[in-house]
């Protein structure tokens, strides 16, 4: 990333404080779901919809992190690697093969000059 970084300057106290706040805030976000559930019981239908919601979030996360970086297209190397992993996963290949195929395909494409 940055070549001008000063290694002893980061993390400055504000950065450290922000990181601790991120840790605390993230814990509260994790806690909010179970805390809400302790107060209210939900019908079975709503339970199913919550599970579906989690899958939708993950599908969106996988797609956006496969195709975009800093709000723009990553270039084809990464999504093609993810696609290779996805095809293997779909064919029920072992998990390690899926992960290595994804990284390997992307690495080879980049070696060949594909961004």
């Amino acid at each position: 990333m940055s070549d001008t970084a000063v290694s002893d300057a980061v993390p400055l106290p504000p950065t450290l404080a922000a990181m601790l706040a991120l840790a605390a805030g993230t814990f509260l976000l994790r806690l909010a779901g179970p805390a809400l559930r302790a107060r209210y019981t939900l019908p079975e239908r709503a339970e199913k919809l919550l599970e579906v919601s989690a899958v939708l979030l993950l599908a969106a996360l996988a797609t956006t992190s496969a195709l975009t970086e800093d709000q723009a297209f990553t270039g084809p190397a990464r999504p093609l690697g993810v696609l290779a992993g996805g095809v293997l996963a779909w064919r029920r290949a072992p998990f390690l093969a899926v992960v290595l195929a994804a990284a390997g395909t992307t690495a080879l494409l980049r070696l060949a000059g594909v961004p």
Partner: protein, 227 residues
């Protein structure tokens, strides 16, 4: 730990170990990126333990490294982690109570949630969640620390294609759930929606907006349910 492992059969156990190892490798690239951006070696390891949410940590470090303010990095990180609220609603029954519940809650992340959701029985859900969670609690910070120490050796993480691993891991984990046709179609719509708004919204928001596709699922399944 042993009794957790005994509840799960070998194939699932192996998958969990491999996911943890993959997370460790992603941690390696995270540590390397953080150090080459000018952070001290212990910073990625510490955030790994305390925040324990990969994408928000990458984002946080990236924003600071690009000269952004700590407040901006904090808000972006929280936004990316907002999906843990609906996650918590979905997996509330595996977290445990009291002091154990605090750790159980902290272990909530993309991978542990998928493993929990993929199991049918409550006991297996709990075992898969905890085993994967504890594994990631170890592998992620250790990977980050090693990556930071080896920072110069793995400097160009892009060349190794490590950035393709995280999406591939998530994709492989949700594929079984996507065999359900209404769910698959809804998930495709959700992904397309998130992708469409990504250029216009800050990181984290597009993924949350994907939930707007949920009515598609209710429409499709309700039609089937009515005789």
């Amino acid at each position: 730990m042993r009794s957790l492992a005994r509840t799960l059969e070998n194939r699932l156990l192996r998958d969990i170990v491999l996911v943890c190892l993959a997370v460790g490798v992603i941690g390696l690239s995270y540590g390397a990126v953080a150090v080459t951006s000018g952070f001290a070696w212990w910073f990625p390891a510490l955030t790994g333990v305390l925040v324990l949410a990969a994408s928000s940590e990458f984002l946080f470090v990236g924003i600071i490294a690009a000269g952004g303010s700590p407040i901006a990095a904090l808000l972006a990180g929280l936004l990316v982690n907002a999906r843990h609220l609906p996650f918590g609603l979905a997996v509330h029954d595996v977290l445990g109570r009291g002091r154990r519940g605090v750790l159980g809650t902290h272990l909530m992340n993309d991978e542990t949630v998928v493993f929990a959701l993929a199991q049918d029985e409550p006991e297996r859900k709990r075992a898969a969640y905890w085993l994967c969670g504890l594994g990631i609690l170890i592998c992620w910070p250790v990977g980050a620390a090693l990556g930071a120490l080896l920072g110069s050796a793995v400097r160009d993480t892009d060349a190794l294609g490590l950035d393709a691993m995280f999406p591939a891991v998530i994709l492989a984990l949700i594929l079984p759930a996507l065999q359900d046709r209404p769910l698959r179609r809804t998930a495709l719509a959700a992904a397309a929606l998130a992708l469409t708004v990504t250029p216009f919204l800050p990181a984290g928001l597009p993924v949350l907006l994907a939930l707007a596709a949920l009515p598609l699922f209710t429409l499709r399944t309700r039609k089937k349910a009515t005789p």
